[in-house]
Point group: C2
DNA sequence: GATCCGATGTGACCATGTCACAGACGGCAA
DNA sequence: TTGCCGTCTGTGACATGGTCACATCGGATC
């Protein structure tokens, strides 16, 4: 997505609005850029054109958990909380790859919400999806064992069978602790489900992992 | 809230729309009625006029956790997930007191969303608020100890100092297990923060409990 | 090779969840 | 009153998970 991204990202918008969006500057951000952190005010409504942004939560102890990721064509719903309600951010958004995004300024966002049905539908749908995902995440965190969440994370990161991530990164993703992940991985390795090397994990038994991830 | 509830619940709506909403039948439901459960399709957009509805999640093991409560004048956001996206419910909504509510049928809901700015603003705001609350809940469940969540629950249920609830009910509220709640309460009692009787808990040290609830 | 740093392994200990029961209490019927 | 029953609460034993303190290890750099 790049020049002319608006038509693809917001199907059904009329031509003048598409032109307005396409005219917005596109920001190119290197991997590792922090888009916003807890308590900050929204600059506008962010639409990701390429790359990937992850939004995560950090607890008092320093433990982290991934809330959700934003892929190309998706918008950063978290940024709408500040635009629509008065809720401050509680999460932190960071680019995990080189990323290009457009920022719809608050006034234009509000105008589009008012006059464009398709735009509204898009925003609402994204909202509903995130809410649903967050509920599922809450359910997994509250009720399932680390092993199931870890298996799910491994499958998400390397559906082909190879995951390049440290134990600490995996822990931050599933909201656990590094040591716990190390021990779980060792246990999975003993059972032949994975192989471990420094910085990467080989998934040796994808069906077995899927089973673990779903059972909980 | 009763006859003429719409003007109060949706400030800024124009007269014809208020009349349409006021004309909807009001349902009176006894405490303990189940409004919807996991996987069901939304009947419409529910607005609570009096009473209280609690939405909670149940894990495979049977453990429960309270997602949020809906008070008079608020709407059941969960029901919009089905109306706007195609996400099924994942929670279960139950009246905890005798409750009266109006159900806005899906077609009227969609029409109002299209043509009424104030209605949209209301729905969006409610959405943003729930999302923010859910995020905070996730943070508490993922990162704070049971003791802090329990103290918070006690303060929520009995800000005056008396809580009428069983240990099992408290456990369901905070997403823990009955035995754990029993033991935590006993520990709090030993420290003089609460007194326990069958079916109710006396909060002896409100500032102390507030401290516990906030520290995590 | 010597050194440094991030990644990983380990043991101890506490908090929490689960299971299996044992009492304890309150209401109700005989 | 007495006995019964269902619910609430208490307890011990054990598995899992989180935290802390270190030990090791592997690679990169000098």
């Amino acid at each position: 997505m790049g020049a002319g991204w608006a038509a693809a990202a917001f199907a059904g918008l009329d031509a003048p609005d598409i032109a307005r969006l396409d005219a917005l500057p596109v920001h190119a951000l290197p991997a590792g850029t922090r888009l916003f952190g807890p308590g900050e005010q929204a600059q506008g409504f962010a639409v990701i054109l390429s790359g990937r942004v992850e939004v995560s939560l950090t607890g008092a102890s320093g433990r982290e958990i991934l809330l959700y990721a934003i892929e190309p064509g998706q918008s950063c719903i978290q940024s709408t909380l500040g635009l629509m309600g008065d809720e401050p951010y509680t999460g932190e958004a960071i680019t995990v790859r080189d990323t290009r995004l457009a920022l719809i300024p608050a006034p234009l966002f509000r105008a589009l919400m008012d006059r464009s049905g398709p735009f509204r539908a898009q925003v609402f749908h994204a909202f509903a999806t995130r809410m649903s995902e967050m509920t599922q995440l809450l359910e997994r965190v509250a009720f399932t064992r680390v092993e199931a969440r870890l298996a799910q994370a491994l499958l998400d990161l390397g559906p082909e069978g190879l995951v390049t991530a440290t134990h600490a990164e995996l822990a931050a993703r599933i909201g656990s602790a590094r040591e716990v992940v190390s021990r779980r991985l060792e246990a999975l390795a003993r059972r032949g489900l994975v192989g471990t090397e420094r910085g990467r994990i080989l998934l040796r038994d994808l069906p077995g992992l899927r089973q673990l991830a779903s059972v909980g």
